[in-house]
Amino acid sequence: MLPHYWPTPVTGDPLIYGADVSIALVSIAILFVLFYYKKWGWLWREWLTTVDHKKIGILYVIAALLMLFRGGVDGLLMRTQLAQPNMHFLESEHYNQVFSTHGTIMILFVAMPFMFALFNIVIPLQIGARDVAFPYLNAISFWMFFFGALLLNISFVIGGSPDAGWVSYAPLTEKQFDPGPGENFYLMALQLSGIGSMATGINFLVTILRMRAPGMTLMRMPLLTWAVLAASIIIIYAFPALTIALALLLIDRVAGAHFFTMGHGGNPMMYTNLFWIWGHPEVYIVLLPVFGVFSEVFPAFSGKRVFGYSSMVASLMAISIVSFLLWAHHFFTMGAGPGVNTYFGIASMAIGIPTGVKVFNWMFTMYRGRIRMTMPMRWAVGFIPNFVIGGATGVMLAAAPGDYQYHNSFFLIAHFHQVLIGGTIYGSLAGMYFWWPKMFGFTLDEKRGRIAFWLWNVGFYVTFFPQYLLGLMGMTRRIYTYPPGMGWTNLNLLSTIGAFLMGLGFIYIVWDILYSTMHRSELKDVTGDPWNARSLEWSLPSPPPHYNFAVVPTVTRRDEWWELKKSGRADVLRPTAQDIEAIHMPNNSGKPIIFSVFFFIVGLGFVFEWYAVIVIGLAGVLATMLLRSVEEDTGHHIPAEEVRHEEMALGRM
């Protein structure tokens, strides 16, 4: 059978050829370095086959930063196009592709991996565990995410990118209106990474429920752990709806079914409902963990315990439930009727209550504290006004009659960037600066970080404040250009200037990382506790040994590490020679990456509707699963002697 599509670089657009060439050059450069320095074995042993949660966490951070670059470039391309009326920098078709990939990448391949980086790097250390519940599955999660992201990214250069927004609404995305492989890329990329996300949710729920150190009762858990618990619950119950929405749309497209088509009884609104049943909880999946970060950062740099611990826990759990009851506020204008709209409007406003409780608690934590303005704290403090404004505009959007005015305007764009950048990205960066020394053994430079923060923070307001006004003036989202004389020109130019300031801010963050890496000996963290912080991970050396805890600590209260330090008994958590026993650890495995490669092949098969490729990919997936099932892999033991040696070398004994 003849394949439906051949992958060809779309159109004759010079930008895309430029991208083709630069991707080819970068790939060649990477391959050259790997061959020249004979680094293949190292890469395979240390990274590609690792099941160590700390390394997987680092892989997530790198992926998130790379994708933030790609998504940011998309953002700047769009802002450049909109800087002046009637520009022809991007054509309409190309603009559609850029905003679609921008939104998709930012949510799924920036925000999500930042969250998973936090999960992986911090949670096991914070609860006194040596790894997650299912380390092998954890590696599968990462590689499924990675190949999902890869699939979406190659769409730009082969076959054409999705162009129907990050929501990919039907019936616009049906074959009839959107032929070509672009939307298939979207559907398969999200499906692959979604499988990984679901597995991560299950993994961390079990980890937190079952792997805590003795004595760490639920109400002694650090708030980040609570936040990850809540986010995991949301992941587990929200992602299946996305899986179904994507699968049914794919069946429509490749098998000619009629779930969401205009004719033959299809119901396009069913897609919208399924998408947002996942989509609204998704925004809390990328927010709750950063709420957790702030709940660690504010107390650490205020020198006080967090204000209102129990109300923090209660509000997290309340949000995790209520987040499932709001989805229709994304389509008040669908015409569901006043009853439905009233309910969803009020429910959306109600979720502001637990969120507001948290903001007040963070402020009370700082109140009369001994505040240290470090990099993590700077991003955390910057978050508060962002979130207050984002919350206020959110309530405006939740008022259904008002939403008929703002719907799909730049007001909405400004609102969700306010919470997504101001919340998720600020929080992820706060977390990155905070736990960077734990990951790599050195802190990031303050001076360069400060410049990055201010460029970004000022750039942020300059970009998005004008957009609120533009929205109120009637400028709708997803338009590739606008005529002069609408009164929009100056505000758009201002917004573009702000976007470039943010771009500069991003470059400064990268520069900060490079600079600090070069000066890592001066920035070295020798204590393991560079911030004088509160939870168990800071009782370990930076970076912690492969097995984390030589002896699993016993917990007797909240903020155990802080309390021990205060009473001068921090040594209690150091291992003693006779307490050290052999440690059981999981084995590395190449199967997770191979398994995911086969899934990637399945993805490509569906994208281009090459049925033989799908069959080959699926056979590979099944074969790897069967091989794993019959494999006897019970892990290995690190002998007590070796652990003692290692602890001695770390100066802990």
Partner: protein
């Protein structure tokens, strides 16, 4: 080759320890329960879609016209029986009887296979009379919902075969016992889903 009940209760026990347990088998059973709850939501979304689209037959075949009471009743009996035989296999495992275990599990897999066979022949018949997935939204939803269940059953059969191979090779031990427990959970879950399918799709369809 017997295995004491104590070993197995370690495999099967849940939730006894105060948040601190590193028994890998126990962790996996707990994880699998959570996985099943995600699978349940997956089916719930498919059911919701089916219910929304059920009446949209686009003047094509209706449920009354294509559902064959005898066929789906047979399927139901076969699958319910297989759940029972799967339970017997687990029982044999608890008593350490490998032969009984393999016999009952083989019967379960064979029943599963005949279930899938009947379903495939139902689909082939439907397509033969022009009731294809491309015909109407109702049929798209019908084939997808029932087919997803059938796919789950097929995967379950492959999985059982792999576990039988492992038990024949290595006997009943904590690991293989855990695997059998998990595939048993999966199989009973599919049975419950089928009860809903039977009621919501078939019974409500022909009534």
């Amino acid at each position: 080759m017997a295995v004491s009940n104590k070993d197995l209760s370690g495999v099967l026990a849940r939730g006894q320890s105060a948040g601190h347990s590193h028994d890998e088998n126990e962790l996996r059973v707990a994880g699998f329960w959570i996985f099943l709850s995600t699978d349940m939501i997956l089916f719930a979304c498919l059911f919701a879609t089916y219910l929304v689209l059920r009446g949209n037959t686009d003047a094509g075949p209706t449920p009354q016209q294509i559902f064959d009471v005898r066929g789906f009743t047979e399927e139901t009996f076969i699958l319910l029986t297989s759940s029972f035989t799967c339970g017997l296999a687990t029982h044999a495992m608890h008593e350490g009887r490998r032969g009984g275990l393999i016999t009952w599990l083989s019967i379960t897999a064979l029943l599963g296979l005949s279930f899938v066979g009947l379903e495939v022949s139902e689909f082939v018949h439907d397509v033969g009379v022009g009731a294809t997935m491309q015909r109407s939204a109702f049929l798209s939803a019908f084939f997808t919902l029932v087919g997803t269940h059938g796919l789950h059953v097929s995967i379950g059969i492959l999985w059982m075969i792999s576990i039988m191979y492992q038990i024949l090779k290595r006997g009943i031990n904590a690991t293989t016992a855990r695997k059998l427990t998990i595939v048993g959970l999966y199989w009973h879950f599919l049975d419950v889903v089928w009860v809903f399918l039977f009621t919501v799709v078939y019974l409500m369809g022909v009534m």
